[in-house]
Symmetry: C2
Subunit: 476 residues, 2 copies
């Protein structure tokens, strides 16, 4: 019933819009020439395989790009080189990043109801990012399964101390299937972040979570976890959905004992870089429009959808402007961020070091939701943005990407600029399958649909160029 009402309401809105169509392009905001150029950019993007070739190189020739790795450095060098080759002014801006290195990660149930003598059941899992290690030979303890933090509290220290706690909180696939994968992620990811602290407070020796994601292919999802200084740091991992189900099936039947080996290392911070590449504005070079993605990735896959796709879509904005010989009035700054995944040091460092210039940052775009078909843009900033950008939305609407939605959050790396009033933007991307692959070994090139990636490059090019060439700066 609620669904029916919602549907009716949406139809009603659509009809209202027909009667009161979007305002016509406002000459003060975007010249007819600029609108024509936006359409050229959009068309050229859809015909290009430039972005796809960038993703292929980053994923296949370089590989996983975890902060602090040789591959992350190589990717910095590669993107800088490509941007220089296009004629941009490139700076590598120093960022100190965590250097966490995955080790062995194996687990097995060594005692469980019904087992054949001298057998174990393999448990497929992965260490959570920044996790501390077990002893090299592993630890062995009984497993306690809880559905949520409340159930953990209800058990109390007596039933938890000395045990491995498994938080068996499922990712909501039904929510994701209806296009709300981000919200489904937001709910489940609380366990990935807070499990080790919550479990350690009750004396647990390790914390496991059910993988945050929608795949059912025995695929563990990694991601960063958190510690507090005043709570013992215990090893943390993510088991696959299937392994969580297995343990949850066995536990009510009798003791379930696990041997757990996780040997990651937290090494000293190392120097890395944001790649900052400027296509200088012709009349207002000091005014800056950022278009960006993050260059680091998790280490299990090759980071195609997270986030080579975002970096490539940003790189292509510069490539298209050059290809079409356009002259943006303001500077278009392509940024490949470092360390989004396990620290956000790139975004934080940039906002801190450029604090004095942020009043001249017109807007900051980031693409970090894969390469699914875009429907438009999520926006964080002034309530006037929607009206101001209506002519841009009209151009994007021709490829089904004309939605402009106010949002609480856009991109993680551009977030640190928001307190300074910089409007931020993130494309509204089809995320229905994004969390099948997110932070897994299966985040690989084949997950990027070339035509959808080209659409993301198109919406980046159109919005970035519009902000760089509007007749007056974007309202703040």
């Amino acid at each position: 019933m609620a669904g029916m009402l919602l549907f009716g309401s949406v139809l009603g809105e659509a009809r209202a819009e027909e009667k009161n169509p979007s305002p016509a392009p406002t000459p003060e905001c975007f010249s007819a020439q600029t609108v024509r150029e936006l359409k050229q950019l959009q068309e050229a993007a859809l015909k290009s395989d430039y972005a796809y070739r960038q993703v292929a190189h980053l994923c296949n020739n370089i590989g996983p790009r975890l902060s602090g790795s040789a591959q992350a450095d190589k990717a910095v060098e590669y993107v800088a080189g490509e941007m220089k080759a296009l004629g941009l002014e490139v700076k590598l801006e120093k960022v100190m990043v965590p250097h966490w290195v995955r080790g062995e990660e194996t687990a097995a149930l060594v005692q469980f109801p019904g087992q054949a003598a001298e057998t174990t059941q393999k448990i497929v899992l992965t260490a959570l990012g920044l996790s501390v290690a077990t002893p090299a030979e592993g630890l062995t303890a009984d497993v306690v399964v809880v559905k949520d933090f409340d159930e953990l509290e209800s058990l109390g220290r007596e039933k938890v101390a000395g045990k491995i706690v498994l938080f068996n909180h499922p990712y909501d696939k039904a929510m994701a299937a209806q296009g709300r994968s981000g919200e489904a992620y937001g709910i489940a990811v609380a366990y990935r972040g807070d499990a080790p602290v919550a479990a350690a407070r009750f004396g647990a020796v390790a914390a496991l979570v059910r993988s945050v994601g929608s795949a059912d292919f025995r695929l563990p999802h990694t991601g960063t976890t958190k510690y507090l200084d005043d709570v013992p740091k215990i090893p943390a991992g993510a088991v696959t959905a299937e392994d969580a189900d297995l343990i949850a099936y066995l536990a009510p039947q009798g003791p379930v004992r696990m041997r757990l080996v996780l040997t990651p290392q937290n090494l000293p911070e190392v120097e890395s870089h944001n790649v900052v590449a400027d296509l200088k504005g012709s009349t207002n070079p000091e005014q800056i429009v950022i278009v960006s993605g993050h260059l680091d990735s998790w280490d299990l896959g090759t980071g195609a959808i997270d986030d080579a796709a975002g970096v490539a879509a940003a790189m292509q904005v510069a490539q298209l402007v050059k290809q079409l010989k356009l002259k943006p009035k303001r500077t278009i700054r392509v940024i490949a961020w470092m360390n989004e995944e396990n620290g956000l040091h790139g975004g934080k460092t940039y906002a801190a070091e450029h604090a004095a210039e942020l009043s001249n940052h017109i807007g900051a775009l980031e693409t970090d939701g894969g390469a699914g078909h875009p429907l438009g843009w999520n926006m964080k900033g002034s309530r006037e943005l929607e009206a101001f950008l209506a002519p841009v939305a009209k151009v994007l609407g021709a490829i089904g990407a004309g939605l402009l939605s106010p949002a609480e959050h856009t991109g993680a790396d551009v977030g640190p600029m928001e307190p300074a009033g910089v409007p931020t933007f993130h494309p509204i991307q089809d995320g229905r399958t994004y969390f099948h692959y997110h932070h897994t070994a299966a985040d690989t090139l084949d997950k990027v649909e070339p035509q959808h990636l080209a659409e993301n490059a198109a919406v980046n090019a159109v919005l970035a160029y519009a902000l760089a060439n509007s007749e007056r700066p974007l309202p703040r």
Copy 2:
């Protein structure tokens, strides 16, 4: 166009059937009482969770059941115990089986175009069943990618000797999506079976295949490979679809060198067993109807769809007949076969040792295609089967499972009885997702939909009881 014509033709046939409906139940074949009992069995099966609980126990409490393993023995003991508890006469019939044990299996590209210094790209793979091992420290060689056997031949010994050959032949997902997953499997699996011999003939040091299956979750599919006595035995593995794509992307750009470690062991054959459980016929106990699945599984997953589901559907036939207190005239023999996966020694041994009685084997049913919704039965035997079984098909038709199709192949384990004229049967199951999971770590309990499994138990019970209670034996 071809699709349109086909659709028209199918509709035409359907209309013809309306005008000439199936023959009415033939009193000589099935009594009215029997038909009533078939309907009772069908209804009771759909309400029962017996089969699902069996699958859960086999997969979760026992685990993977590769021939020769302690878990396979435990499963034999478990099924025998369950059948005894139902009041069946149970024999464990000795079968000598291969004892192949998986070892370490890792691979990495150690040289490839564009790589960052001192990095490698991880390759996800699994050893093929019965594969010989690499040296313990692995072997390192250049990789040659071929699409098929023809391309291998065209390269010749000069370009293949000393190399690792990757057969990058994709599983046809479009074919599978249209319900022809078995055919898609049949085409691709030729490489899994014949790759090591084909590659070794040209001097290759190892053979890899692109995994035979439809998943894109970085999931390798195992399965048996083959050797010939007069060709060097080289190690053989299956890489994931993604890893095959990666290597195929890099190879045209320059040398791709792999370090490959596969350390499985082929141990001496060991004794294992078929579980043979008889629900004795009341008037013709010497006449036998087999209902079966195979108890062994691959070792990566827990063998839920391959083939705990088949074993459980067979077990439930006995359970339902007992529950409803029915008295079959002929003997219903539940068999849990051993060693379907890597030798078929169970099926072959049974056919050999029961050769003298096969003339009294009325029919042999096997379920080994997962637990997808059944549409009816594939049949291998006399052309008269369809007419004879029309009244049974009518009962099954009430749950959408009334198709009777002549087939070239039914179940693997019942195949060795076919030369003796035993009619064999395999349910027509929805296999559209079967090869996502088949022979992988993701063949786990959650892949079994309880209601679909109950439907498979229902069609087994209806057909087996019909064959056991027909007024005259099934035509041969």
